[in-house]
């Protein structure tokens, strides 16, 4: 009976919650008897003889056919309290209860026990009465206790005697949706927690979603970043390349560009590597997913490495040039190959010592004391701490190039002292002192090398013409604009070297 009432005013279908519902006119439905067998018996037996065939009886007939044969939809009616009054084949199939089992019995058994305990069925009925319908998406239960995800619609019958419920099994769709939702949640979690700036985009570069990291990094809001708005964070010089990279991206299904991205936190553009790939199986109009990785430090290091390599090569070649020149000069002043070998090797060692000091300081400024101590330690044979040698002067620094030249000069003085001078005999003494003065715009360190307790012999004469003498009296003035004086006094060598020094750093 109830279904006839329902069917009287069918006007079409309504798409809702993934499936179509029949829709109804406001015309008052005419009462009709419904039996599950009616549709099968044919139209002559369908009518209970209350009159000629009218459009509304045809509608009823149509509806009964639909309801009866609808195996995908469970359709059943209940009275006010939920006792079933009809139960179609779809309901039999879906819930596993036969019509005979259900009609006259409580239809709420299709709800889960938890929902029944929570009073859901009654609440649904009251909602349907109040609003004219109650949509219902929840787990339902079959006769055998198994559960399925149901999408249901409950509507009151117009005569107020009860309700009709239409239910569809949506388990597959529900589980698919859950999977998609879980995948989406995983993507969002990943996309929002990696250090990269993640985005989704259309293949024309139009952003559809910027990750929170992007918003925080660039200071450009979600809405401002959409479409081509995100380009505002790209360095103006890189925007053209950023845009045109999309042309190639379409053919290769791969977007790649290196460009500078504005960092709001550091107030500078930083180099990023941006990649994007289309979602699998997508077309040209579909979404791509991309990441932007900060490669600024990497790039800077690479640039710096290139500079360092060039500088290293330069220093090596220069050093070889110096080695070559020392060899030629030493050769000129040597009487024999043995003498050459000895002197050349010692000079290379002195060069190597000062190179070690310079390398340690990364070719920055070097303290004068370090240079002098290194030479005297190497030659002094422990004399440095023995009281034979005295060193003293204020802290003062030399530029790397000056340090190298001066170290070679000190080496010549020390070698001479060990062979012929103060460090060659018991009573000999050596003092090396220095002071700093200002000469015009420059600061100058004046180093005094004084040997005593030496009886100068004819061997000193050789020294006068030697390489060491030339180095001190000619090379240092030439190379460092140093002023030098070298004299061979009766009790030992005196040498004064006035060399420009670097300005102390402010605050030192």
């Amino acid at each position: 009976m109830a279904i006839g009432q329902l069917g009287a005013g069918i006007t079409g279908f309504e798409e809702q919650k993934g499936f179509r519902f029949l829709t109804y006119s406001n015309a008052r439905p005419r009462p009709a008897r419904y039996s599950r067998d009616a549709g099968m018996r044919g139209r002559d037996d369908l009518d209970d003889g209350t009159g000629p065939r009218t459009p509304s009886t045809r509608n009823e007939e149509l509806l009964e056919l639909i309801v009866d044969s609808s195996a995908d939809f469970a359709i059943y009616t209940t009275d006010q309290t939920g006792t079933a009054s009809s139960w179609n084949v779809g309901a039999e199939r879906l819930f596993g209860f036969a019509e005979a089992e259900m009609v006259g019995h409580d239809a709420d058994v299709v709800f889960t026990s938890e929902d029944r305990a929570a009073g859901i069925p009654a609440r649904e009925r009251s909602r349907a009465s109040q609003d004219g319908r109650a949509l219902d998406e929840r787990w339902h239960q079959r006769r055998d206790g198994s559960r399925f995800w149901a999408s249901g619609l409950l509507m009151p019958l117009r005569d107020g005697t009860g309700y009709v419920k239409i239910v569809r099994d949506r388990t597959e769709q529900y589980e698919a949706e859950q999977r998609v939702r879980a995948e989406e949640a995983r993507f969002r979690l990943l996309a929002t927690s990696v250090p990269q700036l993640v985005f989704t985009t259309l293949p024309d570069g139009g952003r559809t979603w910027p990750s929170p990291q992007w918003i925080e990094y660039t200071g450009i809001s979600f809405d401002e970043s959409l479409g081509q708005g995100w380009l505002a964070a790209i360095h103006p010089d890189d925007r053209e390349a950023t845009r045109t990279a999309w042309h190639e991206a379409l053919a290769r299904e791969k977007y790649y560009v290196e460009h500078r991205v504005w960092s709001a936190a550091s107030g500078e553009y930083r180099w990023h590597q941006t990649r994007a790939r289309p979602l699998p199986g997508s077309t040209n109009s579909a979404e791509w997913i991309g990441t932007m990785t900060d490669i600024h430090d990497l790039r800077t290091l690479k640039d710096r490495q290139g500079v360092l390599l060039a500088e290293l090569q330069h220093r090596t070649r220069n050093l070889l040039g110096v080695v070559q020149a020392i060899a030629r000069q030493t050769m000129k002043k040597s009487q024999s190959l043995d003498a050459f070998g000895e002197a050349y090797e010692e000079r290379l060692r002195a060069l190597s010592r000062v190179q070690s000091i310079l390398a340690e300081l990364d070719f920055g400024d070097v303290s004068l004391r370090t240079i002098i101590e290194a030479e005297l330690t190497a030659h002094g044979d422990g004399a440095l701490g023995s009281g034979k040698i005295e060193i003293g002067g204020p802290d003062v620094n030399l530029a790397a190039t000056a340090a190298q030249a001066l170290a070679l000069g000190v080496h010549e003085l020390a070698t001479n002292a060990i062979k012929y001078g103060a460090l060659a005999r018991e009573e000999g003494k050596l003092t090396v002192t220095w002071s700093v003065s200002k000469e015009g715009q420059h600061r100058v360190a004046t180093i005094l090398w004084r040997e005593s307790g030496v009886t100068m012999s004819e061997t000193a004469e050789t020294g006068r013409k030697g390489y060491g003498t030339e180095l001190i009296t000619r090379a240092l003035p030439y190379q460092l604009k140093a002023k030098t004086e070298l004299s061979f006094e009766a009790d030992g060598v005196r040498c004064a070297i006035a060399v420009p020094v670097t300005e102390p750093n402010v605050g030192e």
Binding site: R315, T316, R317, G321, Q324, A325, Q479
Partner: protein
């Protein structure tokens, strides 16, 4: 082949041993050596005082300064020159890209050939 014999030749090189070694060798080849000098200021002073050289050999790094002001003065005066440096040509500023470079340590024979080439040009 063009030689340096009888030519006025400026040497700018701050490393004493290298400068005098080079100057001595060039003189042995018959060149009239101007300098050697070790700084930009000294080189510019020489160019001011004396008659212009026919050709010059320039070390690029002079202590803490670079020789480029001297190169500019020579270019302006139309004097050819060659660089002598531990640097690769790729670190050169653009205006000097076409200037020949002899790398250190010096290959005397090669330097002589390059000087001959720029003198003949």
């Amino acid at each position: 082949m063009t030689t340096v014999a009888g030519r006025r030749l400026l040497v700018v090189e701050d490393e004493y041993a290298l400068a005098f070694d080079l100057a001595g060798w060039l003189e042995s080849q018959g060149a009239d050596v101007l300098g050697p000098v070790a700084s930009v200021a000294d080189a510019l002073a020489l160019l001011d005082e004396d008659a212009l050289p026919d050709v010059a050999v320039l070390d690029i790094n002079l202590g803490s300064e670079r020789v480029f002001p001297v190169a500019d003065a020579l270019q302006a005066a139309g004097v050819p020159f060659v660089f002598l440096s531990g640097y690769d040509s790729r670190v050169f500023p653009q205006p000097y890209r076409n200037v020949p470079l002899c790398t250190k340590p010096v290959d005397n024979a090669q330097l002589l050939r390059v000087l001959g080439t720029v003198l003949a040009a």
